[in-house]
């Protein structure tokens, strides 16, 4: 008897995430869909929301993946549709020119999984992203979706569920790292009813987009996580707070909720097991402070988004003064996997104190930027140099900023620091929601601190004095230092006011707001001193304290700097040398960026002390 091995059905996945959509991936999707359907080929095509940059590769979007061969094409244009269809869908050929070129090896690779970037990652929260159509509940269910819910409803008591989560050691991925299982238990113990389950999707850190990616790409995992919590603590109502700027996240989440209701995963008597639970989406107005749990709840209630004192915690008196469990998107997405695979398995990943993985958005001066999910305990060095591919243009690593605007800057001496909640806090930074901004030697740390304080001055809710007035004054002093008006004693004053903010502010925003200043003073104090005493910005960033010049020994006379200079301040002769006219130069630094020989250097400007 002869068995014919059936050729597997091909699945073509076209990324329709925000990043790829912006690069016309919809045209690619429509084009491929028409070809496949028109030809009556046995292949499936699905639009897939893939997190923008989730593999660091979306900067090269639109991305098309062909399964089961795991072919990964990037930078696909509508003009490539015919060729992809002919060669890779109808036949099994690979179009080399569309493959991704690995930044570390320079070679084209067939699957993104073969890249250095992907190899060190471990996906739990992002497990489905880029693999499923977020609009299809079947896609989610095919990959174990709602199996954890069935498991808890049929074979686990609420106590067992909470014990399992507690045993797993899962800690809040929104940044504070509070043990999730403990939070649920505390809420369950409170006798008041009703109880609420809230998902914090008010991701506000500039450059962070992990929560958006999950809500856009795998909304059901959040819903399932919340359902499991609702069962455990006895809640009947949930809210997902999403900032209104996240239009696609809101759309996909809305579809997911509808689908879940249709299949009986939400509503009354869920899976005939007596659980009643439904979820409502609340759209936030985009205030950074509304990511703070009590401000978020105030906002859901329709009040001004201001935090309240937390001496009585939300698990006792949260939303409408009722017991509330609030967790972040990424935390919720972890829950179903822990239930399915067990606390023991989860604990085997990551570190003793911080089990599991963490999603980071790796951005800044690093070759591969994007979303990464790595086991806790991985070192910063591995993240930046192995996954991130190191610093571009051969420049030197200077610092990495973690934890969003109120995080801190970690210097190169601490590159071997394991990344987990406790080590980061100890270093004067924090985990935050997982922003990670890499800086090279052309970054001025005083200016970085000034930049973040500017952000916080605008985003502080302004309710309590230390945060509102303290940030304002610290910012003023930093502006002075950057402009050459720094005074002796400024550093101590910044430390003093910073300490008051940390202790006396009302909420987490104010308490962590001085971090960018305090951590840069801690690790880069001499840079502050150079600014204040010698009126010199070593990185050549602060315009008032910088003068660019061309090192004639290094200059090869290529003339690139002259071409790049936007104000015509550079002149000279080809193959000899060039000079910069200081009176015309606006210190934009473009010549330094462009120079291939490192010939453009910076020095201080002599300033009269204007005390």
């Amino acid at each position: 008897m002869v068995f014919f091995k059936r050729k597997p059905v091909k699945t073509v996945l076209v990324c329709c995430g925000t990043g790829c959509l912006a690069n016309n991936s919809l045209e690619v999707y429509e084009g491929l869909k028409k070809r496949i359907e028109g030809a009556g080929v046995r292949a499936r095509i699905r639009p897939v929301t893939k997190a923008t940059g989730c593999n660091g590769l979306c900067e090269r979007g639109p991305i098309v993946k062909i399964q089961p061969d795991d072919i990964f094409y990037c930078g696909v244009k509508a003009a490539d549709v015919d060729e992809i269809f002919e060669r890779s869908v109808l036949n099994d050929e690979i179009i080399t020119r569309l493959l991704y070129r690995d930044t570390s090896t320079g070679e084209r690779v067939k699957s993104h999984r073969e890249t250095e970037f992907y190899k060190r990652q471990y996906k739990i929260a992002l497990r489905n992203i880029g693999e499923i159509d977020p609009a299809s509940i079947d896609d989610y269910m095919e990959r174990d979706g709602y199996r954890a819910l069935k498991k808890v409803l049929t074979s686990m008591s609420p106590q067992e569920v909470m014990a399992e989560i507690e045993k797993s050691g899962l800690r809040g991925r929104g940044g504070a790292g509070f043990p999730t299982g403990v939070k649920w238990k505390q809420c369950e113990r409170v006798e008041a009813l009703p109880k609420y389950v809230v998902c914090n999707g008010d991701e506000g850190d500039p450059g962070a987009f992990m929560d958006r990616s999950i809500m856009e790409g795998d909304p059901h995992s959040v819903i399932e996580g919340m359902l499991i919590c609702a069962y455990a603590i006895g809640a009947e109502k949930g809210f997902i707070y999403i900032r209104d700027e996240y239009a696609l996240a809101i759309k996909n989440m809305t579809t997911a909720l509808e689908e879940a209701r249709k299949r009986g995963f939400l509503g009354q008597n869920i899976l005939q097991k007596g659980l009643n639970f439904d979820i409502e989406i609340v759209r936030g107005g985009g205030a950074f402070v509304c990511g703070e749990s009590t401000a978020l709840m105030a906002s859901i209630e329709g009040r001004v988004g201001e935090p309240r004192v937390k001496y009585i915690r939300s698990v006792e008196r949260g939303l409408w003064d009722k017991p509330t469990v609030l967790n972040n998107v990424e935390t919720w997405a972890n829950v179903p996997v822990i239930i399915n695979r067990g606390a023991q398995w989860f604990r085997s990943i990551g570190t003793e104190g911080s089990p599991g993985t963490k999603v980071f958005s790796l951005v800044g001066k690093v070759k591969n930027t994007g979303l990464i999910e790595v086991p806790m305990g991985i070192t910063l060095r591995e993240i930046i140099f192995s996954i991130g591919g190191g610093i571009p243009r051969g420049r030197e690593f200077k610092a990495v900023q973690t934890g969003g605007p109120s995080g801190g800057c970690i210097p190169k001496e601490l590159l071997d620091l394991p990344v987990d909640f406790d080590s980061l806090t100890e270093s004067g930074s924090m985990m935050g929601s997982g922003g990670m901004i890499v800086m090279d030697d052309t970054t001025c740390m005083v200016e970085v601190a000034r930049y973040y304080l500017q952000f916080l001055a605008e985003e502080s809710c302004g309710k309590c004095v230390p945060c509102r007035e303290g940030i304002k004054q610290m910012l003023g002093i930093l502006e002075d230092i950057c402009a050459g008006r720094g005074r002796e004693g400024d550093i101590d004053l910044l430390l003093d006011i910073g300490a008051t903010l940390q202790e006396a502010s009302l909420c987490g925003l104010g308490k962590t707001a001085p971090n960018p200043v305090l951590s840069t003073i801690r690790y880069f104090r001499e840079e502050y001193e150079e600014h204040i005493r010698n009126k010199y910005c070593p990185a050549g960033v602060c315009k008032e304290l910088t003068e660019f010049y061309i090192d004639i020994d290094a200059c090869r006379g290529c003339g690139l700097c002259e071409q790049k200079c936007p104000v015509g301040a550079i002149s000279g002769e080809r193959r000899r040398t060039y000079t910069i006219d200081g009176t015309k130069c606006i210190k934009c630094g473009q010549c330094r960026e462009a120079c291939r020989f490192g010939a453009i250097k910076n020095r201080g400007r002599r300033h009269e002390d204007n005390h």
Partner: protein, 251 residues
């Protein structure tokens, strides 16, 4: 239960705020945004104290920290004094011309500000009492708007409020006198809205807006002729008191 404040033991109820326990026992903790009628805002942070609970030592605001166990409280440690001084210094830079802030500055041994950016022309320290007062009356005419360094107290869209009754409670509770009320010729102007004033049925002095009169009537059920100005109300109360004493004396 007993809690320790600055080394002395005092009786406290479960859930009672530290500030209330302290005030009851004549322990002074400075406050700015706290009024007995409008407690527990936690905005100004001047009432910070240190709480020692087991191994934990933390800074909390006494106006809204509920006593839940036998804690030890330090109201005036060096750490606290330093932070309070910073808070006063920060506030003074925001409202340098306010007498209220000048007084506080003196109290904390602060001289003229030399390093901070001083903003003149605005005495509001955003303590939030005015907004709270308006909310408690159930009017909701003013609110804090914007956030961060642009935060201020305002009517909706800085237009004259439709619901404002011109009672002036906001101005009454303001510690720095930054809410301007203009009263002349039987008219009162507040928050950009002008109200006609009605005379006191007893002395004839203009004292209340029509809207406020209606509000008081609805709240108390009093007839309009029974609603008197503050002075007449006090006199009336005094007379009543006098009558009572007379009665007692006659008996």
């Amino acid at each position: 239960m007993k809690i320790t404040i600055d080394g002395q033991k005092y009786e406290a109820q479960y859930g009672e705020y530290i500030l209330d326990v302290a005030r009851r026992n004549n322990i002074f903790i400075p406050t700015l945004c706290h009024l007995e009628a409008l407690p527990g805002q936690g905005n100004c942070r001047l009432c910070i104290v240190e709480v020692l609970e087991g191994k934990r030592r933390r800074v909390v605001v006494s106006c809204s920290y509920p006593v839940k166990g036998e804690i030890e409280v330090l109201t005036n440690s060096e750490r606290i004094r330093k932070m309070r001084k910073n808070i006063v210094r920060l506030l003074a830079a925001a409202a340098p011309d306010s007498d209220f802030m000048k007084e506080l500055q003196k109290e904390y041994g602060l001289q003229g500000e030399e390093r901070f950016q001083v903003t003149r022309g605005e005495d509001c320290i955003l303590c939030g009492l005015c907004v709270r007062a308006c909310e408690e009356l159930g009017i909701y005419a003013i609110s804090t708007v914007n956030r961060g360094i642009t935060k201020k107290v305002s009517t909706p869209f800085t237009e004259p409020s439709e619901v404002c009754i011109g009672c002036g409670a906001c101005a009454y509770v303001c510690p720095t006198g930054s809410i301007k009320v203009k009263e002349e010729g039987g008219k009162r102007e507040i928050w950009g809205k002008t109200f006609a004033l009605l005379p006191c049925p007893s002395c004839g002095k203009y004292f209340i807006t029509r809207e406020e009169l209606e509000y008081v009537q609805a709240k108390t059920g009093l007839a309009p002729e029974k609603i008197l100005c503050e002075k007449c109300r006090q006199e009336q109360a005094g007379r009543k008191m006098g009558d009572v004493f007379k009665d007692i004396a006659m008996k």
